[in-house]
């Protein structure tokens, strides 16, 4: 049995903007998707990620800017000329066609020979575990099976580019986890370039080579999952990535001198520990998660969330001292777009002196 393989292609989006009736959906987005990689567009609803995907697909056209696929300018080309496949959130299966006809739809449009159709169908169906369902209508399938049919329709033609618009959001949590792995494995095996839209950061972090975090139609940060987590480029990214996300408080609220007035301090809950020295705080709320313990502490007017080991014994109202390593501190501009900045050394020293070293 021969392998299904397709070579991915580079996708470049440069300076693309799109507005509807004066409302900007995508604002000067530039983005490079290397051939054969998995890129996730991540952001809250209304951030422009789906519109960006649809502009790459050719279902919408950019007001300005350019889209190239494999070095070819396709900005104003219809979808069919872009040589790509797409999976929709609602699956978009044809309800009157059975599984086989749905998967073969594109091949039939392009009048691929019957024997090749049958061969590819068998391969694709086997890969997705749909061989026993080929003659069922979509309505007779479970949500997960419908999802697989949509994937089948996307991969059977071995297109160099595959786009997915929140494909897992209609599945239950358990199925979502297993499909995540499966889609990632499929992408690596077949080697196509993937652009995947989601608002679920767990999907983004686990699947992507490159995560693109968007907000208000703009890119906040693009980078590897590790870089997005470890070095968030803006306050928004810091507050969006991580479960629970990073604590963000005014830097001058902790320092006695009130220095660092225009800066926001960010510390991840999982970097905070409780010890004998450090920042005095009062436990206000506890959430026990088994392995972990989420402890909400009050430090003056500020609230800090700490993620401790579940073995810790703390009570509400208890006085604790919080600690974190100096390198666990992130600083962002409080105003404007909240860009990541290097804090003045004296501020870092002052804060480090306050919280000490974890013991």
């Amino acid at each position: 049995m021969q392998e299904i393989t397709s070579k991915g292609q580079t996708i470049a989006v440069s300076d693309v903007s799109k507005a509807w009736d004066g409302v900007t959906a995508v604002d000067q987005v530039s983005l490079e998707i290397p051939a054969g990689t998995f890129t996730v567009l991540l952001g809250p609803s209304g951030c422009g990620k789906s519109t960006t995907l649809r502009i790459i697909a050719g279902l919408e056209f950019a007001d300005s800017g350019a889209v190239t696929i494999g070095g070819r300018d396709v900005t104003y080309e219809p979808p069919v000329k872009r040589d790509l496949a797409m999976v929709f959130q609602s699956y978009a299966l044809f309800p009157h066609l059975d599984v086989a006809e749905n998967i073969l739809f594109g091949l039939k449009v392009r009048r691929i020979g019957k024997s090749e159709q049958a061969e590819r169908l068998a391969k694709t169906a086997e890969m997705l575990g749909l061989s026993d369902y080929l003659h069922r209508k979509p309505a007779q399938l479970s949500g997960g099976q419908q999802q697989r049919v949509a994937l089948g329709r996307a991969i059977i033609a071995e297109k160099p580019v595959c786009l997915m618009d929140e494909p897992l959001s209609n599945l239950d949590a358990k199925l979502r986890n297993s499909m995540r792995t499966e889609i990632r494995e499929m992408q690596q095996k077949l080697g196509f370039s993937m652009v995947y839209v989601t608002h679920d950061q767990a999907e983004a972090i686990t699947m992507a080579d490159q995560v693109v975090v968007m907000r208000h139609g703009r890119i906040e940060q693009a980078g590897s999952p590790r870089r997005i987590y470890e070095q968030p480029a803006t306050r928004f990214v810091a507050g969006f990535i991580g479960t629970p996300p990073m604590n963000l408080i005014a830097a001058n609220a902790l320092t006695a001198s009130g220095s660092g007035a225009s800066l926001t301090l960010g510390v991840r809950p999982e970097n905070i520990t409780v010890g004998h020295t450090g920042l005095p705080a009062v436990v206000e709320h506890i959430e026990y998660l088994g392995a972990d313990l989420l402890v909400e502490c009050g430090v003056g007017e500020q609230r800090l969330l700490a993620r401790l080991s579940g073995a810790h014994q703390v009570q509400t109202g208890q006085q604790v001292r919080l600690q974190w390593a100096p390198q666990a501190m992130h600083f962002f501009e409080t105003s404007d777009r909240g860009r990541r900045v290097e804090a003045p050394a004296e501020l870092v020293d002052a804060l480090a002196g306050l919280v000490g070293q974890p013991d």
């Binding site: 697909a57 050719g58 279902l59 219809p78 979808p79 069919v80 790509l84 496949a85 797409m86 929709f88 609602s90 978009a92 044809f94 309800p95 009157h96 739809f105 594109g106 449009v109 392009r110 209508k137 309505a139 329709r153 033609a157």
Partner: protein
Amino acid sequence: MMHRREWVYGWLFLSPALVFLFAFTHYPAVKTVISSFYSTPRGKREAKFIGLENYQTMLSDDVFWKVLGNNFWFAVGTIPISIGLALLMALWVNSHLRGRTLSRVAFFAPTVLPLIAVANIWMFFYTPGFGLIDQLRSGLFGLPAINLLGNPDSVLAAVIVVAIWKEAGFFMIFYLAALQSIPPVLREAADIEGASRGYYLRRVLLPLLMPTTLFVSVNAVINSFRLVDHIFVMTEGGPDNASSLLLYYIYETAFQYWQTGYAATLTVVMLVLLSILAIGQFFLFDRKVHYQ
């Protein structure tokens, strides 16, 4: 105690509809079947049972056969064209074109207007000499006047055109509703796969519209027997019964010649015909129809 009262309420709520249904549908239908086996009562002579005599009369009635033939051609002429037009118009006003609200209103207007009133406008179109059609013919092509409604060869076609004009807008509404229930994402999925408009229409839209087509075609068949309002205004079945349809002939027999027994017989034949056609259509189509 409580149960009895609920039972009474149930019947009270049902009764208005039931009374009308029985008084104006079920009772007349049954009475018609019975009447078709009786002679027509005249003056003091009461209707008496005559068995199948009315049916025998009918079989040897040339006008009946002529009218039945007319009705056949009327159905063949109106049904496919009005359904096809309805689909075209629905596809058109469902697209994102400018002024589509206006075209929707324009297409639906014939349905809202009473056919009796509209038939008078069509009379003007058809009037020989100074009607719209003749003015166009002589003005643009210098052709002589024609009398479309006065000629047995053209009169049926002329009333068919009016019926199509009336029906297409009505059926369009059903197609439009069905089209709007089809998710636009299917079109996008087909676009991604490179399907042309024609391919999408043939392989996706038309199959998904099949339930509507079935519904509309059953209605169209029934209407082709029912829609005779314009015959009253435009031709009164003439000339030489060339534009008379079954229902119009029943009207004439019953309320102009007052042969109520024979009219009942004709009515029974029409009911049987319609039932067979409607049931047949459901069985014929149903296997090919995908219901969502």
